[in-house]
Symmetry: C2
Subunit: 215 residues, 2 copies
């Protein structure tokens, strides 16, 4: 019943040059405002580079997609969470912060576009885009949040056996049906205020479920 987290991702090939980053940004821009299908031609045109260069740098279409996903992922992992000396207020703060930024991510056009492409590619069973997106999305945040939960437990604020299970519940409370609806094209527009209140609700519900009973 536990996960098999796919193949561990290759240890991050070296960073793209500035020019390559510009190309990847063009690819990203293309998939985000999606009017046009993501063809090699379209990327080359948008990035003002030749297709030949694209193939030289990234090998093939899949390589370009992979590099694009990695490039986007490399910009997201920003916030770090402080887990020492956790009191009830700091715990709530941390969880709230996480929930809010996670909601902002999954609601972003970039995330929706990226996930759509990765899912489509996964369906046609070539490339490991899905694995990469999972590793940098769902699993990455899991690894960042679980220490917070464990610190909360250490501080006697939370009670649970399995931090992975606790995190998955939190994940469900935060995301609910939002991601699948967006992926399927529902218009559901969550503005910043909506995200904040949604995050707050999720955190309160999570705390209600996992708060350590007063001794």
């Amino acid at each position: 019943m536990r996960a098999s987290p796919l193949k561990a991702e290759a240890p991050t090939t070296e960073a793209p040059s500035p020019r390559q980053q510009a190309v990847l940004d063009a690819a990203l821009a293309l998939m985000v405002d999606g009017g046009e299908p993501l063809t090699m031609d379209a990327v080359a045109r948008r990035a003002s580079c030749s297709k030949e260069t694209l193939y030289k740098w990234f090998g093939d279409r899949d390589g370009l997609l992979t590099a694009t996903v990695r490039w986007q992922a490399s910009r997201v992992h920003a916030g770090r969470y402080e887990v020492s000396d956790l009191d009830a207020v700091a715990l709530r703060e941390n969880l709230l912060d996480f929930a809010e930024s996670w909601l902002a991510v999954i609601c972003s056009r970039t995330s929706v576009a990226l996930n759509r492409i990765a899912i489509a590619e996964t369906g046609s069973r070539k490339s490991n885009l899905g694995g990469i997106v999972l590793a940098n999305g769902r699993f990455a945040i899991g690894e960042r949040v679980k220490p917070v939960l464990e610190a909360g437990r250490m501080a006697g604020l939370l009670a649970f056996d399995d931090s992975e299970a606790a995190f998955r519940t939190f994940f469900g409370l935060v995301g609910r049906d939002i991601q699948i609806r967006l992926l399927l094209g529902d218009a559901l527009d969550l503005d910043a205020a909506g995200i904040r209140s949604d995050a707050a609700r999720a955190v309160e519900q999570f705390l209600a479920l996992y708060r350590q009973a007063k001794p």
Copy 2:
């Protein structure tokens, strides 16, 4: 912040003939064991019919996909829920039943394949497959579960203001990260026992959050 449930789906075109059903089943089988891409040729070959017939019956590729999704949906809506005279036991029973069958659906190869195709198609912005999948999946179950929740409230068992919001929380507690992980190709195999225990956990958590405080 609320949803815009896409365009209401056309009032279900007339039921397909047995032969047409066989064709749709072939399409379904093709997308489920996915070794092959879902081309018109492949469907025709698998269904032992001519492409011309396919186009005559379904108009174009999109029509075929749409009919396939509708056909699958028409077989899923089975269980009906009894909402009169709801006591605590019956409420838990109902919720458990729903959670279990919903988990079984989203874990099925059919659902994963169908959602992948709908999401891919939504990405390339033609067809309303995503809307149809949403209408028959997420929204359909919402409409079936909310009466149960409301009956629970009427019976003084549950407390909430907005049944839609309550349902979305339930949805999140049941599904958590399962659907997105499957769509992205994670192997996560949930057997019947795993589904049962997962469903039970979700129901207990939901009741813990929404149970009416004893007066």
